[in-house]
């Protein structure tokens, strides 16, 4: 009785979602040197997840073929950081964390740079590989 009960409740701990490549747009949709918000579906969304299965990322095109995809989660407590294009900074609305355009910490409490998603160009499309929310360890 106990084992199935624990197994059922704690199942999410042991379920590993596959890493899936998700298309977020065509290469031409993004200008070199610009950072834009993109969103994509999680790796294996539950049928009733609806909009909660979506994840956003900040996609920066650094050259003709190179992209960086940043997690929107502040490394302090996970709040969604906003890109301020004219300042070239990511700013967090919760506790005032700030990051430079390369995701490194510029100011405030964040203990680590913004996490990154693997990103590739595939058949003229930009694809981001899904991954779990970055959890900062103690």
């Amino acid at each position: 009785m106990t084992l199935p009960l624990i197994g059922f409740i704690f199942a999410p701990l042991f379920r590993r979602d596959p890493a899936v490549w998700r298309t977020v747009g065509k290469v031409g949709d993004f200008k070199v040197g610009e950072t834009s918000a993109v969103d994509f579906l999680d790796a294996s969304p539950l049928p009733w997840a609806g909009m909660t299965a979506k994840t956003a990322a900040w996609l920066r095109r650094t050259s003709e073929q190179d992209f960086i995809a940043f997690a929107i989660n502040c490394s302090h407590l996970g709040c969604p950081v906003r890109w301020q294009p004219s300042a070239g900074l990511f700013m967090c609305p919760c506790h005032g964390g700030v990051y430079y355009e390369d995701g490194s910490v510029a100011a405030g409490p964040p203990p680590a740079p913004l996490a990154r998603y693997p990103v590739r160009v595939w058949g003229g499309e930009v694809q981001i590989q899904t991954r779990p929310i970055e959890i900062q360890r103690g």
Binding site: W48, A49, C79
Partner: protein, 471 residues
């Protein structure tokens, strides 16, 4: 008629006898309490009263609420805007929760100040501390069931904090999220915790808490110079009850009833006048423009997490709450006997005043959250800038474009994160301004690589023009 009355009386008597109601509950209700346990003693029953409101309004809300990632938000919209009395029911549940947090705080402060946690009531206190934990957990998980944008980000913030626990942090974080990201499984976990697990624990511990009240009796109001001595306390207490004790029902209980009724009235009034918190944007984690904030009873802790010295939060996030909880739990063992009167325990009074002041101050600062950038500051007018062309004007434009204004005030416009720069030229020399702009600081980005030399010159020209007008 007389026969009918007799039959009814017999029936009532039969039910009472077979169920043993009077026999069981009678002595409990009539147990003796100190004659001078008066209005200071109503907060515990008021907490219970607020809990009953939560149970009733919560069950009512469950008639319409659908705990599913997709449906929860629309059903809440329906409850709030369409269902008859839905708005009132949500208001009742929200202000009931607020009352419960407030009353448990008052109850705890009173018990602490009266030294009632000392021998032999240590377990009363310890079960009470657990109940406080359950109430806060209920408040937090309840906020998440609102399942709007704020709720989604609160889950992430909770998971990130859980992640700081040594060794098992990542597991606890994944357990909180119900997977690797927020998704279809997230809400249901909090629904189960909020609606089944924590209320069941709360019921059980309230039962135990009340049994312990009956076992050890209601503590008499403390008198200075009458310390608790475990050897003699029980005998003295029994003698006191024998001499001047009053039955709880009705001599003392009427105050609880009056206070409870008054509180229910106040909660209902607040629910009608103010209504429940408005729902935020939909629970879509890809909407980036979010401004997550906890409900008022945890807003002070939100402020703590912003104000901790950088680098310490890693340790604090886990050991801060853990230490506070442990300290509260073991309190009866730190001071198990001795004086109970607050007149002889000045440090206890200072402790309560300090706690209230600190939490109050953090709450005020949390509401304002000056550490958060102002993402939509009012633009600087030509009058404020004092120029419509030239370096000062160009500097003012840069000040806004480069988000300096998001964190600094100029004549009341801008953010509060950094110092107010309205009269900065009176305080800083030009060279210092340049150093700060180029190098940044703990809470300011270094702009050295972001600005061209000419742009720095313009910015400085603008800042140099920020002086107090000559009188």
């Amino acid at each position: 008629m007389e026969m009918l009355q007799k039959t009814f009386k017999n029936a009532v008597g039969w039910i009472d006898d077979r169920l043993g109601l009077s026999a069981t509950l009678g002595p409990m209700l009539r147990h003796l309490v100190p004659h001078d346990a008066r209005w200071w003693y109503v907060f515990g029953s008021a907490t219970l009263c607020a809990f009953m409101i939560q149970v009733v309004s919560g069950v009512a809300l469950a008639f319409a609420y659908s705990p599913s990632a997709t449906d929860a938000y629309p059903t809440l919209q329906f409850i709030t805007h369409d269902a008859p009395f839905g708005n009132f029911m949500r208001g009742l549940h929200y202000f009931g929760a607020s009352a419960m947090v407030l009353m448990v705080g008052l109850h705890m402060a009173q018990v602490f100040l009266f030294g009632s946690y000392k021998f032999p009531r240590e377990m009363n206190w310890m079960t009470g501390v657990l109940l406080l934990g359950f109430i806060l957990l209920m408040g937090f998980t309840g906020q998440l069931l609102r399942w709007d944008q704020n709720a989604v980000w609160s889950v992430v913030v909770a998971a990130e904090q859980a992640g700081r626990i040594p060794l098992i942090g990542e597991w606890v974080a994944r357990f909180t999220l119900g997977g690797e990201t927020v998704g279809g499984a997230t809400l249901n976990r909090f629904f189960a915790i909020h609606v089944f697990i924590v209320p069941a624990l709360t019921f059980a511990f309230i039962g135990l808490h009340l049994l312990l009240v009956l076992r050890h009796g209601v503590a008499e109001p403390p008198k200075a110079g009458e310390p608790v001595d475990p050897k003699t306390y029980r005998a003295n207490y029994q003698a006191l009850l024998k001499k001047s004790g009053r039955p709880f029902w009705p001599d003392a209980a009427w105050r609880d009833v009056v206070f409870c009724v008054g509180m229910i009235g106040a909660i209902a009034l607040l629910a009608v006048v103010f209504g429940p918190p408005e729902l935020g944007k939909p629970p879509d984690p890809s909407i980036i423009a979010a401004d997550p904030r906890p409900d008022w009873y945890l807003l002070w802790y939100f402020a703590v997490l912003a104000l901790l010295p950088h680098g310490t939060e890693r340790i604090f996030m886990v050991f801060g709450p853990l230490t506070a909880g442990l300290l509260l739990i073991v309190l009866p063992f730190l001071a198990p006997s001795g004086e109970r009167s607050p007149l002889r325990r000045p440090w206890a009074v200072v402790g309560v005043l300090l706690t209230v002041t600190v939490i109050g101050a953090l709450w005020v600062v949390g509401r304002k959250s000056p550490w958060s950038p102002n993402f939509s500051p009012e633009p600087l007018t030509a009058q404020i800038v004092g120029a419509t062309s030239g370096p000062i004007f160009a500097g003012a434009q840069l000040f806004q474009e480069k988000s300096c204004i998001d964190c600094h005030l100029i004549q009341g416009r801008g953010g509060l994160r950094g110092p107010d720069l309205t009269f900065i030229a009176d305080k800083l020399r030009t060279s210092d301004m340049i150093i700060r702009i180029v190098n940044g600081g703990v809470n300011m980005p270094a702009y050295g690589a972001k600005l061209k030399p000419a742009e720095i010159e313009y910015l400085v020209a603008f800042l140099e023009s920020r002086t107090k007008p000559l009188r």
